[in-house]
Subunit: 146 residues, 2 copies
């Protein structure tokens, strides 16, 4: 099983909401991630993407990328989201697609801080849709296991 399939399975098995949303990792490496989810389980009262689903899939996209970066570096850490800000620009009318990239410099600083000071922060911008229809800025916090 490749990294994307294995991480998706881990997330789906331990976060019931990710299963309900049909969270799917399309591609994953230590620089970027692409995630999708069908619209149907994620609709709102207007028949477009529910704000909570859009946020949840986007925050899981960032969490999955950070988790992969830590695993790739052989660091055992607990990863949580500390804060996040989302802007909704237009309704999501089809499949929910999220993408995030991390630059090599920010990733190295994050790994160095997590290794050296037991705690590292990484801010990621996650785009939802092509326009994009929504943008999430989330700060993730890794706490290295003793």
């Amino acid at each position: 099983m490749n990294a994307a399939a294995s991480l998706q399975q881990k997330i789906r098995a331990s976060i019931p909401l990710s299963e309900a949303m049909q969270f799917t990792i399309e591609s994953l490496d230590s620089e970027a991630i692409r995630v999708s989810a069908p619209l149907e389980p994620n609709i709102n009262i207007h028949g477009t993407g529910f704000a909570g689903s859009i946020y949840s899939i986007a925050v899981l996209t960032g969490w999955a990328l950070c988790t992969h970066i830590l695993e790739d570096a052989g660091i055992d850490a607990e990863l949580v989201v500390a804060k996040a800000e989302i802007r909704y620009r237009a309704p999501v009318t089809g499949e929910l697609n999220c993408t995030a990239k991390v630059d090599a410099g920010a990733r190295d600083l994050f790994l160095r801080a997590t290794r050296g000071q037991s705690k590292g922060l990484l801010q990621l911008e996650i785009a939802v849709g092509d326009t994009p229809q929504a943008v999430l800025n989330a700060t993730f916090c890794a706490l290295r296991s003793a």
Copy 2:
């Protein structure tokens, strides 16, 4: 059926994720709302409240209060969330509880703008837990139907 039960039924029937999260309106009037959801369907990989569930339940709490305020005033409008910021302060280890209040002045301005200019904005702070364990600041936008 009272306003809380009726709005909960409407939300659960049209937003599949709210049903998966077991979103429950405990109390509702035109000034305040209290919502709950059990931890179990909303856990994360650490066995505490999933960041996406916390956000989604909090944003629905604000949406439900705004919807009730509009209905109470007899205004037919489409209500969406424009932007939101959430800060996670501590893990949620039990039932998820959300509360929000609106002051009378802000509510009147919101209703006046929605009636007069067809578009009204209302910013709400939603607290999750007693401490609170998380705080969401969300801006809702009402677009009056023609």
